[in-house]
Amino acid sequence: MIGNFDARTPSGPLDRKWTSHKDHSRLVSPNNRRKFEVIVVGSGLAGGSAAATLGELGYRAKCFCYQDSARRAHSIAAQGGINAAKNYQNDGDSVYRLFYDTIKGGDFRSREANVYRLAEVSSNIIDQCVAQGVPFAREYGGLLANRSFGGAQVSRTFYARGQTGQQLLLGCYQALCRQIAAGTVQMFPQTEMLDVVLVDGHAKGIVTRNLRTGKIDNVAADAIVLATGGYGNVFYLSTNARGCNVTATYRAYKKGALFANPCFTQIHPTCIPHSGDYQSKLTLMSESLRNDGRVWVPKQKEDAKKPPNEIPESDRDYYLERKYPSYGNLAPRDISSRAAKEVCDEGRGVGPGGRGVYLDFADAIKRLGEETIRERYGNLFEVYQKITGENAYQVPMRIYPAVHYTMGGLWVDYNLMSNIPGLFVIGEANFSDHGANRLGASALMQGLADGYFILPYTLPNYLAGQMGKRPSNDHAEFKKAERDIRAKIDNLLKINGKRSLDSIHRELGTLLWDKCGMARNKNGLEEALRKIPDLRERFWSRDCGIRVPGDGEDFNQSLERAGRVADFLEFAELMCLDALARDESCGAHFRDEHQTSEGEALRDDENFADVFAWEFQGNPATAGPKLHREPLHFETVHLTQRSYK
């Protein structure tokens, strides 16, 4: 294995670890910072905030994104909010409680020290965002407002209407713009990273392709930061943007970075149901809606086809309130999603195809008035009406779970550095903080924590020992990586088959959704593992493979996507392999074989309280990836069966 597989968790009491770690990390003096070049790939909340902050500190940063502007990264679509342990509501919140909720929400599959640090810096994030001019919702007295989110009994979520991700991203985009103007950050939009370059075992550069001109470039640096988001689009249909992909992290994996817990994928309970094959993506309805909406299906499956207003109160099953009385409609995402699947499997699902449940606002409108509901969720109701043509103020929304977020990602240590020295991974792209299930409003928190307040302390610790070690970009390793990338592009263009890329990607997505989605089992996963290599072979075959028109020297959207789908076709196998190896249920990873008598996820702490980190061994057909296990140590929390009853 390249580098070091050591979590580097600092010793000492939990609440002192981060402070003492910062106190003992190496620093780079202000005069020396401009001598270091750092590559940041991705410009979402994690990448954007990291690039801006590093530029501000005096490092020279280069930030790359595939979108035409840094402001369009998919963080922009996050709706509901961002958690912070401010305890402004005087309802008993604290750093410890946010830490505990997060680690419990993740079903005890994350590192205590990382999660505690996240909770610790959460308050600074709110301060920073307010100072930047993020227009968070406020109360009449002028102070900040909060709302509740799933998996917590306190109200700690800060929000800006239903557009919190947008406003936080614009805050960090503006900070980035300031640094671009100041010349500390150089921005490369419409540029995709295609490989990481290692020199003497350290990550020292990347190979990029300019999507507009097709030009391939080698970029050398002193350290690389990947902030390239999650891989939900492996399922074809997800709430991710069309361009979201696994390419950057997967290619780093193929260069030796360990990929951790790839089977931990979050299915969000409240999305607009799937309606047909033509569909290109699924749209999320923010979890915040569950604050005021009540989830139900008919008690009898005969009623499933009736219009909802003809089903009397006594014939409705408010199944979340019934099964989880203390959290009710705010049960965590994995639990709510599975509960929806269960009632639909029983034939009680509503809408076309019977894959939907109602999210009903009638009671909230009666209690608070339509105006209040409009103020809280107006834009979400509009989105719903645009897509479905239905007015949710009058008829209940129909929702169904959809792939939304991936907890798995590249393995990192406490410094957010992968096993490859100099390769840092932040935000959704790493695996670190959410365990087997992420709580609502915690993704924004983690992205900004990593970029504003953690990486700027841990990166210098690496850089301090790297003065003058930046190679030139005509080093042989760069030339080799560039040749490989050019060959890969040529191969894609040469297939010249008969199928469209989307049709094969859709086939992969359907297979994964069935076999590695909300519930998994041994037989299904083995079946998927047999079918994926076959699908991959078809992708590349001259007779029935894909067709990529045009050439590589031009703006070629088909070629961009083909490279990403080729990576998904390999990555999917890793995901299923991980799901098969993790022979327990935990959080979002639900193995049919392991459930309690009430149908909840049944963990096996004795054998699986570990991070699964996979090492690439070459061609998957001949050598499967090698599993490394990092045992999780719980010094503070007590492992319990998660209960939201």
């Binding site: 002028g142 290109s280 043509g389 307040f453 067709r547 045009g550």
Partner: protein, 251 residues
């Protein structure tokens, strides 16, 4: 549903483009306009023709990547909403649909329907920010902001940066875009220290990019997917006048 399409095809920035006719039969009414283009592209590909290049990403109206003029209107006829939020059931069966890129001199065409909007980034780089170093922020609740001001600021901040305002404007003015950012920050106490400098620099950058001036036709407001009010342009003008006066008075 069945449609006749006329779509702008242009090889690159230097080539001349033209509208090309395509048939789009058997389109599901629940499909979005972009999904209809996906279907057309899939068919073109299988026929061995080059697919139509168009930009999109989130496909839920928030990322601002869409840049289509549909039947002569920026983002098409279903306002407010971006082109990705336009559904085929809004059109008549058999209708001819004309799809072009946003037509703005400062947004050159890259290919077909894809345009270069980096001019908007440069306007923000000129001053559309609050300088707040990470680590030096005061406690968030130490700056109370009246709810009305915060809400109004949020209304301006909701801009998705698509550039439809400039596309709809007969003068190709980016005043609504610039006004939204200036107003978002000027309405908050945190934005106060850089208020004067910000508005002057941003307006200068806007002019330097070749955008036109505002003559109050309000086409921008009519097509804005984020429903940014043209009254923010009035605010921009006030901010700019005040700042210029202060500057000329040597403050």
């Amino acid at each position: 549903m069945n449609f006749k399409l006329r779509i702008w095809r242009q090889r690159d920035a230097k080539s001349r483009g033209k509208l090309v006719k395509y048939d789009a039969p058997d389109i599901p009414a629940q499909a979005s306009l972009l999904e209809m283009l996906d279907i057309v592209n899939e068919r073109l590909l299988l026929r061995g023709e080059e697919p139509i290049a168009f930009d999109s990403d989130c496909r839920e109206g928030i990322c601002g990547t869409c840049s289509l003029t549909v039947n002569g209107e920026a983002h098409g006829p279903d306002h407010p909403g971006a082109a990705c939020e336009l559904y085929m059931r809004k059109f008549r069966d058999g209708e001819t649909i004309i799809v072009e890129p946003f037509r703005v001199k400062s947004f050159p065409v890259i290919k077909d329907l894809v345009i270069d909007r980096s001019a908007l980034d440069r306007i923000v780089q000129a001053g559309g920010f609050i300088s707040a170093r990470a680590g030096s922020a005061p406690e968030a609740n130490s700056i109370p902001i009246p709810k009305h001001d915060a809400d109004l600021s949020m209304e301006a901040a909701a801009c998705i940066g698509c550039g439809a305002c400039a596309a709809a404007c007969p003068n190709a003015s980016a005043m609504l875009f610039t006004a939204a950012k200036v107003s978002h920050l000027a309405l908050l106490p945190q934005g106060e220290p850089e208020r004067t400098k910000r508005v002057v620099s941003m307006v200068q950058a806007m002019d330097a990019e070749g955008f036109g001036n505002c003559t109050n036709t309000y086409e921008c407001e009519a097509v804005c997917p984020a429903e940014i009010s043209a009254s923010f342009i009035a605010k921009l003008n006030r901010e700019y006048s005040k700042a210029s006066l202060r500057r000329s008075a040597g403050e």
